[in-house]
């Protein structure tokens, strides 16, 4: 057994050097050379100042901005995760009901009107950068009104901030909230 343990220690040391040091360093070198912007977190800048990552949701609460999906970690990117509430959890159902009411109020929908599911459920990461186009269309009225813009103009920006399905079939369409809100600010001058 001692012979095996010595061989094991040697193997672990050598394989650690290869897979735990050389490999991640080689990947980092190649990644920084090929895709520096993505390797460093797809940071979005405005006027030369970083304002967030294109891939991570941040909190938006003002009526003139589109709002991201609910977050179980309060959009804290130093953390991540979902609510982990089960499908029949009373806490989940109360939370959804409350969010649906707030969403209807904020967006001028009739009491009991149907709301898009992504607008009232917490995402898996807590940092989902997207909302569904259905959700964006409902919010567009509120945003247009708050900013004094044409609804058509806002919908045009929504269209531009929409990421389609990859290869036409993979995943789902989503509207990138941060990109959309930055475009709105720009349009407003």
């Amino acid at each position: 057994m001692l012979r095996h343990l010595l061989a094991a220690a040697g193997m672990l040391a050598v394989l650690t050097a290869i897979t735990g040091a050389a490999y991640p360093l080689a990947v980092t070198g190649a990644a920084q050379a090929l895709f520096p912007e993505r390797a460093n977190g797809s940071i979005v800048e405005r006027d030369g100042e970083p304002v967030g990552s294109e891939l991570l949701a941040q909190s938006f609460t003002g009526p003139g901005y589109f709002h991201p999906r609910p977050s179980a970690v309060d959009y804290d990117a130093a953390d991540s995760g979902g609510s982990n509430l089960g499908p029949s959890s009373p806490e989940l159902l109360d939370g959804v009901e409350e969010r649906a009411e707030t969403y209807r109020e904020e967006n001028g929908l009739a009491a009991g009107a149907e709301v898009p599911v992504d607008a009232v459920t917490a995402s898996g990461s807590g940092l989902d950068p997207h909302i569904s186009p259905a959700n964006a269309r409902i919010q567009a009225d509120r945003v247009a009104q708050a900013r004094g813009l044409d609804r058509a103009e806002v919908l045009e920006l929504v269209e531009q901030a929409t990421d389609g399905r990859a290869l036409g079939v993979l995943g789902e369409e989503g509207v990138n909230v941060l990109k959309l809100n930055l475009a709105l600010d720009e349009a407003a001058g």
């Binding site: 980092t28 941040q58 979902g82 609510s83 709301v115 898009p116 995402s123 898996g124 997207h130």
Partner: protein, 570 residues
């Protein structure tokens, strides 16, 4: 489910069918007895140097006992090293955030978890693990625990294929070749692809930004892509971030998600073809592949359809879960918009069929039967297609059981690949078969009646029982995913998960090697008219029957009290 949902499923099947056979042929050459494989000119000298440094004689073959001891020694040393590294990370370099040492129970749990290829995650990566711990600790185990699983598979196949020899190969050689020739090159390419999609790969700590509305946000950094590539290819699953593959910095796009799903499946499926080549009967490999993909497809479609249908309790609250041109609809709690319910269901079935614990959506928030599908898929013993190496081992054990049962029915001595299956082999098969359910049901039963364990639950009622069952199904099958509402950091769960994971790993590996040792010594009997062919759809159906009936009889009562009751109560 939407048309696009079906199309992405079919596209995945097509890509697997196109890539698994050639990869299987290559893998067969890596583990084959001829010891010649592409890349020898570069890699042979490297391998020889490794053997020299470690004072291992690559030409010295091991009996099953020697092979098993080598696996055990390697796991023990890996556990010890990883535990020490995690405990001491506060005093070690490459710790830009000055994180303290990981607390004992979490370090114990994590060290067992990664050394056994489970990757059950009791820690939040971004908040607890230093870059050194991630790279030199967790990242390394992602490679070597996967390579160890494949090595045991290679040894098992040698036992089936060889005639009248007592040795099964050399563990150290199989470990090194699997790492350097299969996992490392594939991971490198995969990591770069992931960075192109948006996965981070840097050594910066956190970047602080001021958001558009003026709040402060910490953008995390780290060498994520290099670790995530091997986390998927090695059917590991321990996330770099707490949200695992739901985190946009791990899994940024739907295309990346699709390729990652493929990378989780391709090696386990390819190993079926490698098996066919190594036993010199490619029909056997195709039969194993057929069984694996049949069960996987059924479970995938079930999970995708169930999640796309949504949660009826939310419909009652005025929530629109229907699919349309403007939204995916479906059960979206715990899911990401870019994936939607179809790609999330497909991922859930693919990971629970492969002992890969990564999640791109929170399983705890799945619909009762959607989450139940993931749970049941693990309880099948993870053979569809199973973790790298261990999945094929599990399937071949079930095939041996199937020939035994068929032999009983027609009154003939059972044979598999010409080797007579005797009492010794069947006893070892039963040991494997009973260990996992005993661990899952035993620990779950105790947890269900002890106050300490119950206070860790995130959800009450039948869903609470599902959380407990899922925790032990996941650890005892070395899967690693979780119903995350359960607080796995408490003493009870952190500590009991340890023996569950060890049992899951070694009650497979040791019986498998013992069976291989026993079969390797036997001379094959010539096939006769009475021999049961093991490459036909009929036999494939029998193996699926054995898998489903064994799991069904064992777990149906428990599942009825968890997911099924919850579904009926909606």
């Amino acid at each position: 489910m939407s048309i696009e949902g079906w199309l992405q499923f079919l596209l995945l099947v097509a890509v697997v069918l196109a890539t698994a056979p050639p990869l299987g042929r290559y893998i067969a050459r890596v583990y084959g007895d001829e010891r010649t494989a592409p890349g020898d000119r570069v890699l042979l000298p490297v391998e020889r140097a490794v053997y020299r440094i470690c004072r291992v004689d690559p030409d010295r073959e091991q009996h099953w006992t020697g092979y098993a001891l080598a696996v055990l020694a390697f796991t023990a040393v890996s556990f010890g090293f990883l535990y020490a590294l995690l405990r001491l990370q506060g005093a070690l370099p490459l710790n830009p955030l000055d994180l303290p040492g990981v607390e004992p129970r979490i370090a114990f749990n994590t060290a067992v978890s990664f050394a056994t290829n489970t990757n059950w995650q009791t820690y939040a990566g971004e908040a607890v693990m230093s870059p050194l711990s991630q790279m030199a600790g967790l990242g390394v185990q992602n490679f070597v625990s996967a390579a160890a699983g494949m090595a045991v598979m290679a040894a098992f196949i040698r036992g089936l294929a060889r005639r009248g020899t007592a040795t099964l190969g050399n563990f150290w050689v199989d470990l090194v070749r699997g790492t350097l020739r299969i996992l490392l090159p594939m991971s490198f390419l995969m990591a770069l692809f992931l960075v192109g999609q948006g996965t981070v790969q840097n050594f910066a700590g956190k970047t602080v930004v001021t958001t558009v509305e003026g709040a402060e946000q910490l953008i995390p950094g780290g060498a994520a892509a290099s670790q995530i590539a091997i986390k998927q290819l090695g059917t590991n699953g321990g996330g770099f971030f707490d949200a695992n593959s739901a985190h946009p910095f791990e899994n940024a796009t739907a295309l990346g998600n699709f390729v990652e799903t493929w990378s989780i499946l391709v090696i386990p499926f390819a190993l079926a073809f490698a098996f066919g080549h190594l036993v010199n009967d490619r029909r056997q490999g195709r039969a194993a592949f057929g069984i694996m993909i049949g069960v996987w497809a059924a479970m995938s479609i079930a999970a995708m359809v169930l999640e796309s249908a949504g949660n009826p309790l939310l419909t009652a609250l005025g929530v629109d879960q229907s699919a349309s041109a403007l939204q995916s609809g479906g059960s979206m709690e715990g899911k990401e918009v870019r994936f939607g319910p179809a790609a999330s269901g497909l991922w859930a079935a693919s990971t629970t069929g492969t002992s890969n614990g990564s999640v791109n959506a929170m399983h705890d928030s799945f619909t009762p039967l959607g989450g139940g599908t993931a749970l049941l898929h693990m309880l099948f013993g993870e053979v569809s297609p199973g973790g790298v190496g261990v999945g094929l081992n599990g399937l071949l054990i079930m095939a041996i059981l199937a020939v035994f049962i068929a032999g009983l029915m027609v009154g003939r001595t059972p044979e598999y690949l010409g080797k007579k299956i005797g009492a010794t082999e069947i006893k070892l098969v039963m040991l494997y078969l009973l260990a996992m359910p005993a661990v899952v049901l035993g620990f779950s039963a105790v947890s269900a009646v002890s106050d300490g364990a119950l206070s860790s639950l995130g959800n009450g009622g039948p869903h609470g029982l599902s959380e407990i069952l899922y925790a032990y199904a996941s650890t005892a099958n070395n899967n690693g995913s979780a119903f995350g509402g359960l607080d796995s950091t408490t003493w009870w769960y952190a500590v009991t998960a340890g023996p569950a994971m060890l049992a899951g790993r070694f009650f497979l590996i040791i019986p498998v090697l013992a069976v291989a040792g026993a079969l390797g010594r036997k001379k094959p009997a010539p096939a006769s008219a009475g021999t049961l062919p093991t490459h036909t759809p009929l036999f494939g159906g029998m193996v699926v029957g054995v898998v489903v009936i064994t799991a069904g009889l064992t777990f149906f009562p428990a599942l009825a009290l968890g997911p099924v009751v919850e579904h009926l109560s909606l």
